[in-house]
Symmetry: C2
Subunit: 456 residues, 2 copies
Amino acid sequence: MQNDRRVLDLNRRQGKSCRLFYSDDPVKIIRARGQYLFDEAGTQYLDCISNVQHVGHCHPHITEAAAAQMDLLNTNTRFLHDNIVMYAERLAATLPEKLCVFYFVNSGSEANDLALRLAQQYTQHEDVIVLDHAYHGHLKSLIDISPYKFRKLTGQKEWAPLPDTYRGLYGADLPDPGQAYADAVKDLIEQVQSKGRKIAAFFAESLPSVGGQVILPNGYSAKVAEYVHSAGGVFVADEVQSGFGRVGTHFWAFQLQGEHFCPDILTMGKPMGNGHPLACVVTTPEIASAFTANGVEYFNTFGGNPVSCAIGLAVLDVIEKEDLRGNAIKVGAVLKELFRGLHSKHEIVGDVRGVGLFVGLELVTDRKLKTPATNTAAYVVKRLKEDHIVVSTDGPWDNVLKFKPPMCFSVENAEQVAQSIDRILTGRKCDVWTSTTTGFNLVFNPPQTRYQDHEP
Amino acid sequence: MQNDRRVLDLNRRQGKSCRLFYSDDPVKIIRARGQYLFDEAGTQYLDCISNVQHVGHCHPHITEAAAAQMDLLNTNTRFLHDNIVMYAERLAATLPEKLCVFYFVNSGSEANDLALRLAQQYTQHEDVIVLDHAYHGHLKSLIDISPYKFRKLTGQKEWAPLPDTYRGLYGADLPDPGQAYADAVKDLIEQVQSKGRKIAAFFAESLPSVGGQVILPNGYSAKVAEYVHSAGGVFVADEVQSGFGRVGTHFWAFQLQGEHFCPDILTMGKPMGNGHPLACVVTTPEIASAFTANGVEYFNTFGGNPVSCAIGLAVLDVIEKEDLRGNAIKVGAVLKELFRGLHSKHEIVGDVRGVGLFVGLELVTDRKLKTPATNTAAYVVKRLKEDHIVVSTDGPWDNVLKFKPPMCFSVENAEQVAQSIDRILTGRKCDVWTSTTTGFNLVFNPPQTRYQDHEP
């Protein structure tokens, strides 16, 4: 409306640092419900990416719980309150017994920063091993451990290879890629130690997300944990994106790695408050005790307040009552099956991967060379928008269409998305073939738009 | 109720790092409204310390605004939304024109961490000058610049003297203590530079809070800014505690330093969302541009979302509609006047200071030596609790009773507090005198409790 120009001005002025969705023609959403977004004209968009609005946009149970507690009391954790205890107990029930000390904070970044402090204080070591392309948050301490960010800065650092069995160092065709990638971490530890440095932590997302919706190979985490523990470090699982039942079969994505694996520190965030700033670090009593022993009090003004905890409890209620994990299993399976159909039909679909409602569709202009089809991916995103479907890309080459919708996403939604992508790729088949012949400058319809795909 | 033991257990297990109010006999508050807290038995407590619940606990206008927006939409800043523009415009109207680029985040700590990144990126310098006893947040980067915290850790650093004209290096009796304290910063800059290091920022609370409710002397900030600018650094004003009209006469505490002074970066937090996790960094277009120029996107998942902005707007509405700044001027004046009466009557009251509803009452066992009356302060806090008044202490020796109540605090509340303190100090006068004679081991009534005051 009248504010549109000012909204854009403001974004231009201050938000230069923050990329807008559809920056050429941004969408102004004014209302949302469940898995649907609505713009000013009342047009409905299907939301495939809002993993923060985990149980669905504007869920009435969450709003009611928040308003009721806001009307009653909102203080800090220097006062006793039942909500924080009930919430910690509910979360503890989803976790292995040894993870039983909770620190409530306001964002995944605050959680990861605290995880880093806990690891360094407990081990009395400094160095952190991270995965290539990882992103752990926007704070000063976390840019330092996020190759996704720091690779753009001056001064290169080291990182372990991303255990991506599609395009990574070791493919799914190897007998044990989990072991091979874990051994790469072991090699890195040895390199670091040979320089006299000491490992405080191995820090990784349980499902690397900006790395391109990557699923860790079997056995990887347990092996890495073994090597990291031998070096005197701890294993930090970043579940800021992947937790709260998104993978369906389990409540936490690290549990996909088997019952014999448990991280020493786990961080959670985005889906935890369904949009409310709420995050958490959970660790073992031993690590927590070492942290306390330095005599520096940890206090977080808003963290763990009664309103945040009421909202967190309401989110857990909805996950259970609406069986959203069951839905993630069912709909995720349908989505992957439909995407496998696209893989059979469209040469440009290089890989389909995912668990539950965490799914990636990787586009390549050449299946053998795995040339990232970055521009086709951008084109599909743009065309999906015209079909009123909101999707975005991820991965180092932005060629992975990512799907992490609100957990109420339906079978019909999955079918709509797959059909729409099928139509778009069918219409563009001619251009797609062009891309492998012309190299990397190709013109799509509409002809005024020029796209450039990456070289291998 | 049944959860009490578990609440305490939880606090004992995990919260060892977080000190409870009244840790010997914690209060379980279950309801609050305005400036009043209510425990399980329905007992009403007068709240003198909840500066976060700025416009009053559970203000219905804030709850309504939050619930309405939660029911409508809560996305992130990758989508356009009017609320963030309206909110930035409303905040801009309270600030000098040059402070016009806003970054919305979730906590004062996130704000200060970003301020540090902005300052270091803009200046391409590393070093930060802070005030002694300062506290700027719980993040890894901020512990590093918080003497209040890092003094307890191994490895000492340097800091500028706290410009406390009561017990600091330069007293209010000097002709120009502001100049004297600023010159101490200048000396520190020269020391740092002589070691080949370069100043990125001078970082200070506009009203040092954990330092003991300190009011900066006239002329201090403008002089410091001049020195810091000469060294190529920027001035960061931390208004996480002091902003949003608490000082009454101005919207921001830095404005107490005169119209010719303006910080380069300002951070805000605690009172901003009346308890909702909401904070912000505001800076100049020049500094923001330098930050963007490094090519690293800044994105904050929850920061600036429509719900947070709706709440922020509602807080501004209430401050204006209920003339809370006017109230802070009026009630703050009464409170200070009554406390000056206590100063005349009770030898143990060493200093009364404050602006608006940011007031400190410093207790000393000896006015000449300014011996901190730490135990008497703790005793007064404990006795005030029995009178159902919630107050806590601050300052390096925890001997300053601090008052930063919700801004709806009334003249009657001020009178009640002053009368209660008067009664407590009168009853303890004999003991107070004892303290100067026995040194620092004295026994109060109840006789089973032993207090220890600090030596000078």
